[in-house]
């Protein structure tokens, strides 16, 4: 099933011509309208550089998350402020997030891509989608929401958590598709079983769209088994609209990336040079349709590889492999992007704590932050310690949007490794 068969099965040649034309338009636009790009390109002697082939994009410098944070709040805007209608933000390491703006056309286009993805997996207007991702500044929930509405199905904006209510909604409204993180999916299956219900028989589910954090083939199978449904892998990032940048088709062998909307490159994360076809590297994306805030050669920090062969589904937009990791130290917990530096900043600002800390990720998707008491901060009172523990947890939650368990440890008791301290221990089995 195709949402837009012509585009999705467009010939390679026509696709490349389309990409080239859109790339030229985009570059001309940013050099004119975005001072950041104007200066950056001028620095590289590129203001008048003509793009004649798609490979010419390599002459242009990369855009990074740091650039976006520095440009905060609206230094990357190409449209006038009056014409942007939506703002989304994504975590940053230094206290300022990355701001991404959308025009009406951008919103519609991101919904359009989602509609392609949903249709590609066999979703139709007769389905009922329960959106169990976090609404708010994140793109995860809203973008899927608009796309599902575009397809014409009933959308339940449940958000995450409150499993009791989720179950009730699923039963009462006969939900057929869920959009959810891998850890919550596993947790929820368990929750249902503990209630004496059979997730395979007692629900109407037939599909799950799972993304927001990397997970293994093994985990996919576990979720499919638990619910008796088909699980489709979903890839996206806030800087590129959100979910729907790439999605699995019925063959579930790689995710089709919409090449008419994004020009993709895979580069060596250290040298920035393109890697051989099929080899893993860092995914770099250039927006081809974005109006409010186009991005040129944006470094996603995600590691993947292109699958050059044609997919049996007939779509000519190439597939990427499931994401295997990051080139930076960003963590994803319960679908939320978190930088260890954010945690460090919060902890260093609490005078009762020592300098050493550890972040432990375990179980399905649990985070434990181990902190050390300061020599002077122990006054023998249990209540003070309990208050401190709660204070630290709350401060962290306010910064990273996920509430960790906080463990207090005596001063100097946490292990310190030589050189760069190993702060993060990830023992999750997703």
């Amino acid at each position: 099933m195709f949402w837009n068969k012509d585009i999705e099965t467009i010939s390679k040649k026509a696709l490349e011509q389309m990409q080239l034309q859109r790339l030229q338009t985009t570059l001309a636009r940013v050099v004119k309208k975005v001072p950041f790009y104007k200066h950056r390109f001028a620095e590289c002697g590129l203001e008048k550089c003509q793009i004649k082939t798609l490979e010419d994009i390599r002459k242009f410098p990369f855009t990074t998350g740091a650039d976006l944070r520095e440009a905060y709040p609206d230094g990357m805007l190409a449209s006038g402020r009056g014409s942007v209608i939506r703002l989304h933000t994504s975590s940053g390491t230094t206290g300022k997030p990355k701001a991404i703006f959308f025009s009406k056309r951008d919103i519609n286009q991101s919904a359009e891509l989602i509609a392609r993805c949903i249709t590609m997996t066999g979703g139709t207007r007769r389905d009922v989608l329960q959106n169990m991702m976090t609404y708010g500044l994140f793109t995860g929930a809203l973008v899927m929401h608009y796309g599902a509405e575009k397809v014409g199905m009933l959308v339940i904006p449940a958000g995450p958590g409150n499993s009791e209510k989720q179950l009730m909604l699923m039963q009462d409204f006969k939900t057929t598709i869920i959009h959810i993180t891998p850890s919550y999916a596993l947790y929820f299956a368990d929750f249902i079983e503990k209630k004496g219900l059979n997730p395979r028989k007692d629900l109407n589910l037939r599909m799950a769209y799972i993304g927001a954090e990397p997970y293994t083939e093994e985990t996919r199978r576990k979720i499919e088994e638990a619910f008796g449904i088909s699980v489709y892998n979903c890839y996206g990032l806030s800087e590129m609209n959100g979910p729907g940048v790439a999605f699995e088709c019925l063959n579930k062998n790689g995710l089709h990336l919409w090449e008419d909307n994004f020009l993709m490159e895979i580069v060596d994360p250290v040298t920035g040079e393109p890697v051989e076809d099929g080899k893993p590297g860092e995914l770099v994306l250039t927006t081809l349709c974005r109006e409010a805030m186009p991005l040129i050669r944006y470094r996603t920090r995600d590691i993947t590889s292109i699958i050059p062969e044609m997919c049996a589904c007939g779509r000519t937009h190439r597939r990427i492999c499931r994401i295997t990791g990051r080139t930076d130290d960003m963590l994803i917990v319960r679908g939320v992007n978190i930088y260890p530096q954010q945690i460090e900043r919060v902890l260093m600002g609490i005078k009762e704590l020592g300098r050493n800390y550890q972040i432990l990720l375990q179980g399905l998707d649990d985070m434990v932050v181990k902190v050390e008491l300061n020599e002077a901060s122990f006054d023998g009172r249990v209540e003070h310690l309990v208050n401190l523990q709660q204070f630290v947890a709350e401060r962290l939650r306010a910064e990273i949007q996920v509430k960790p368990a906080v463990e207090l440890h005596p001063p100097g008791s946490l292990p310190v490794s030589e050189g760069k301290a190993k702060r993060v221990i990830d023992m999750r089995k997703l």
Partner: protein
């Protein structure tokens, strides 16, 4: 008359197996004698409070071994070991608006004397009140050399 306050040694202990053994081991090695002990716990950690015969030594030895330790000033009130002994003290506190934060008691001489250890916010004010009310306060020497 200057009285040396009774000190309680409070130690932070993670909820890990063997913590109590480690801590009491340090005290034993240092020749410190424990007169009274209590543990307050939460799910993840505990605070162990000791009344010892050599509080300064205990404090420094534990600190050396990497424990988070604190010395707390407490009031030690001598109470007669008969019905009504505790009631009398409680009434004094109530009538004088002294808020007791923590309290513990044990017998010194059965049938004769017991002691009540009390933690209050403002120890000096409480001391004055108690002395005015003719309650018997014990100093560190009184209590430990009994």
């Amino acid at each position: 008359m200057y009285m040396k306050n009774v000190k309680i040694v409070a130690v932070f202990a993670e909820n890990k197996l063997g913590q109590m053994a480690r801590i009491t081991g340090v005290l034993a090695d240092a020749g410190v004698n424990v007169r009274w002990v209590t543990i307050a716990t939460t799910e993840s950690f505990g605070v162990i409070k000791f009344l010892v015969d050599k509080s300064e030594i205990a404090y420094h030895k534990l600190k050396e071994q990497g424990f988070a330790v604190s010395l707390l000033d407490v009031l030690a009130i001598e109470v007669s070991d008969r019905p009504g002994g505790l009631y009398r003290v409680a009434t004094v506190f109530y009538e004088n608006n002294i808020n007791v934060e923590n309290s513990s008691g044990f017998v010194l001489e059965p049938g004769k004397r017991a002691v009540l250890l009390i933690e209050v916010k403002d120890i000096e004010t409480a001391k004055e009140v108690l002395l005015r009310q003719k309650l018997k306060l014990l100093s560190e020497d009184d209590l430990l050399n009994v």
